[in-house]
Symmetry: C2
Subunit: 518 residues, 2 copies
């Protein structure tokens, strides 16, 4: 997941629609939206909290063993809460779903795929990357989940749009774009057009910067630099040019604007990280820490009832009574679960819209992207309906490897979701061949695809709020003895870090209530 | 090592002096300097090469067990050549020197440091990073040296110059610089100043791109975006602004030009790589493959004599006679080794100038840069004489860690080289405190520094050629039966990849001669 950026996601919630990222950010400051609660302020509940107050840890039933549910159980467990986690799927992790050889993936509508990946090959079908500022890394540290760098941007990847004769290395596309941009800016500065904005003292500083930024010749013209790359790399010999500099008009039409700013984003900038061995590692470690015996998988919740002195949850195999409930399920599924939640709450749960995303994992018999094309991780950006091609950030220099052949959203994701797996694979391969040539087909070993709208008990990649309005605020508070948790209740939708922060918030609220009310 | 870039190094060799990187690159294409030999074309010598020709593998003495010497022995060994490697230092690897707890580092002039680093902590005192296109990764693959990502750029690192009140996160410095730059370019485009260069058809494409690149508001003004980062990160709450946008004049004076283009460079762009466990891994695997019994360490060569039918090499412990010699030593040391090399050859060996670089490894008791400042790897750039601060790309989320407290060149390196280690540490810490505050001193466990000009048998970080002229060309050919190899004979000076490509070239030359002459 984690497609889109904070700013792009902001568009989903309305604030940014009018003015773009800049306006959104300015408004955020101006309105003083953010109170002082901060991840560093979090104090986990402790057994000793109860000692002086004559209260005791309560019994809590948690619905959903995704990251939010597991983190809730884990944090409450630190103070001895008696937690039970009910999970409708047959494994923990929710969308933190890492597919390995032998795993079966069944879709709503019927088709089942079985992954045939070899030893050590995995496919992060859901989230796949962690920004260095995210809470996720703190949980990895606390639970001993080793992390490694996730390559989220690679200038050796390609930029390709359907109007181009051939893909261009992103390195070259950027060098030429920055070069021309700098040449234009230098010309304008020298022509005196900007004298109202640029003082004469700033002028030389600006010209120096622009020259360095664009790699201009001393006469202020862009003629290409080694940043474009080489046809044959330097060594004993000096290296050969990768080809002539295209005219500015052609470079502007690469459509680089679509993706150039992506690695600047706060949530997407390199370096990013991933757990070693698969994104489900954190879910698994959390589940181990909670205690596997407290987690009931393949247990679908059918009814949630607030009682005067507790909560009753009915599920496929019976029912659970507890003092409190934390519902860490997708809001659209929660909204249609029966029970006695207030109508306003149910309406609020119906407010965010589930969105579509899909991915395909293509296992290859050899790592041709490394050996033949010198692409070690990172992403190729296209305007085709596959959107991106991701090269793996693990197993470098090994034999086999897994490429993500599409990671697309919305209508593109829906159109792939409507196909059988074999057709998804065929279409992804056809498009990939336009970037990488025939080996994209001939070296393929096996594949698995996911359409998140068709994943049982999840039914969406993530959600979008029409605005962070009253419904969002309402669900931050409990409905009787039922609390809500999930990335969908944060400004970090589709990130594990959102789920973790939401869990901490709910745990703090619930614990404070128990300390007060018992 | 690997400071400077291809383009900056090109300045050392003259070609780029007049016209900057652009001119250099254009000239390279125009002059057609590069013949067709390419790393992909390399065919290692094989035993079977001799079968039809009635020739046999020769005896070869190799001087220097750095990467060039070891790779020469390794490649010749594939065809059964009888290689002996003489190394003056007490270990293999040359500048590929990874320092671990217990290692002793003695400098010319006398001082000896002993590293007190804890288990798992290492310091790459020499080269430390590999670009994804480099031959080095192929050798890692061939020899089974695992590699991982080296974080060469981190927007969460700082930009600091002595004129600033406080360091600025590089993320913010870049966002603001790109923002203002884009605003200026949008204004100039709208004012019509650029109409001679920008057609009306290109105009909208350019404006769209510029707006996205800089994160402009819809009115074309830069007001800051989330790319600047946050004071408190988003989560359940929206996140808070990192502070007001400084005026353009202040942003331009960050001196970002010095470093902004660094991650665009062909040899420095992310992702980069490092061998797991230390940069000496490749040297060690090469030495194992050659056979440790063929390598004599602590064996200084004193005389090299071309004979009618072979070469005689005299060293501290005796002498070796062989059919051929490959001298893979620093040219300035080779130039003063006695023997009967032609005066023109000796003059050519004296032509490149050894350059200075120094580093200090600071071991800390906790990884405060990760926990307190959310910096996972990468580099802080300063205008102080420490130049850079490098955060480690291994051991993420662990307990201890090692920061490179300076990596400086030329006069700055010389001034640190002139100090005792304790003074180097004191000065590096004083400067680091200006970026990171007092914990830079209080959390320190131990340190080790290196001054490459004072390293016995190396006496320089790398060399610079006044030009890639006749002397460079002369040394690409053997002097009698003596061949020359090293990064200094390539356009990849200071990179292991240069040493490897030079070794391949010499191995090919020598093998062809043996197949012809015996």
């Amino acid at each position: 997941m984690s497609e889109g950026t904070i700013s792009r996601r902001a568009l989903l919630v309305g604030l940014g629609v009018a003015g773009g990222a800049g306006a959104m950010y300015a408004a955020m400051g101006a309105l003083g939206l953010a109170p002082d609660r901060h991840e560093d302020d979090y104090a986990p509940p402790q057994r000793s909290d109860f000692a002086l107050r004559g209260k005791a840890a309560a019994k809590v039933v948690i619905l959903g063993a995704g990251i939010a549910g597991l983190a809730t159980a884990y944090e409450l467990g630190k103070a001895g809460y008696d937690c039970t986690v009910l999970e409708a799927r047959d494994r923990v992790g929710g969308r933190s779903f890492t597919i390995r050889g032998g795993d079966k993936i069944t879709e709503l509508g019927g088709e089942t795929q079985e992954a045939r990946f070899g030893e050590g090959v995995y496919f992060n079908a859901g989230p796949a990357r962690i920004a260095q500022w995210m809470l996720t890394l703190d949980y990895c540290r606390e639970l001993g989940v080793p992390v490694e760098v996730f390559v989220n941007d690679n200038p050796n990847g390609y930029t390709f749009n359907s109007g181009m004769k051939a893909p261009v290395r992103t390195r070259m596309a950027r060098a030429d774009t920055y070069g021309y941009m700098s040449e234009l800016l230098a010309k304008a500065t020298n022509a005196g057009t900007l004298d109202k904005m640029v003082t004469s003292a700033d002028r030389e500083v600006l010209l120096d910067f622009v020259s360095e930024f664009g790699g201009l010749s001393d006469d202020g013209v862009y003629r290409g630099t080694s940043r474009r790359g080489y046809r044959t790399d330097p060594g004993v010999d000096a290296g050969t040019s990768p080809g002539p500099l295209p005219p500015m008009s052609e470079v502007l039409r690469y459509g680089l604007g679509r993706t150039v700013a992506f690695p600047f984003d706060y949530d997407q900038a390199m370096p990013m990280f991933q757990p070693v061995g698969g994104m489900d590692s954190l879910a698994n470690k959390l589940a181990d820490a909670v205690g596997r015996d407290r987690i009931q998988t393949s247990t679908q919740v059918t009814k949630i009832t607030n009682l005067p002195d507790g909560v009753e949850v009915v599920h496929g195999g019976g029912s659970v009574k507890a003092d409190y409930c934390v519902a860490a399920m997708p809001p659209h599924i929660l909204a249609r679960t029966s029970g006695n939640l207030d109508a306003r709450v149910v309406a609020a749960l119906r407010t965010p819209t589930p969105l579509s995303a899909g991915k395909i994992g293509l296992e290859y018999r050899r790592r041709w992207w490394e050996t033949d094309e010198r692409i070690y991780g990172g992403i190729t950006e296209t305007d085709m309906d596959i959107s991106h091609i991701w090269y793996p950030s693990y197993g470098f220099n090994g034999v086999q490897g897994l490429v993500v052949g599409y990671y697309n959203l919305n209508a593109d994701a829906d159109s792939y979701a409507a196909m059988k797996h074999a057709d998804r694979e065929r279409r992804a391969i056809q498009q990939g061949i336009r970037v990488h040539g025939d080996k994209y087909r001939t070296e393929l070993l096996s594949s698995v695809s996911i359409a998140w709208r068709k994943q049982p008990h999840i039914e969406g990649a993530w959600v979008g709020w029409p605005s962070y309005g009253a419904e969002f605020t309402l669900l931050q508070e409990p409905a009787g003895r039922v609390y809500f948790a999930g990335d969908w209740l944060t400004h970090l939708i589709a990130w594990q870090a959102g789920a973790l922060d939401s869990a901490r918030k709910v745990v703090t609220q619930l614990h404070q209530r128990v300390l007060k009310e018992g």
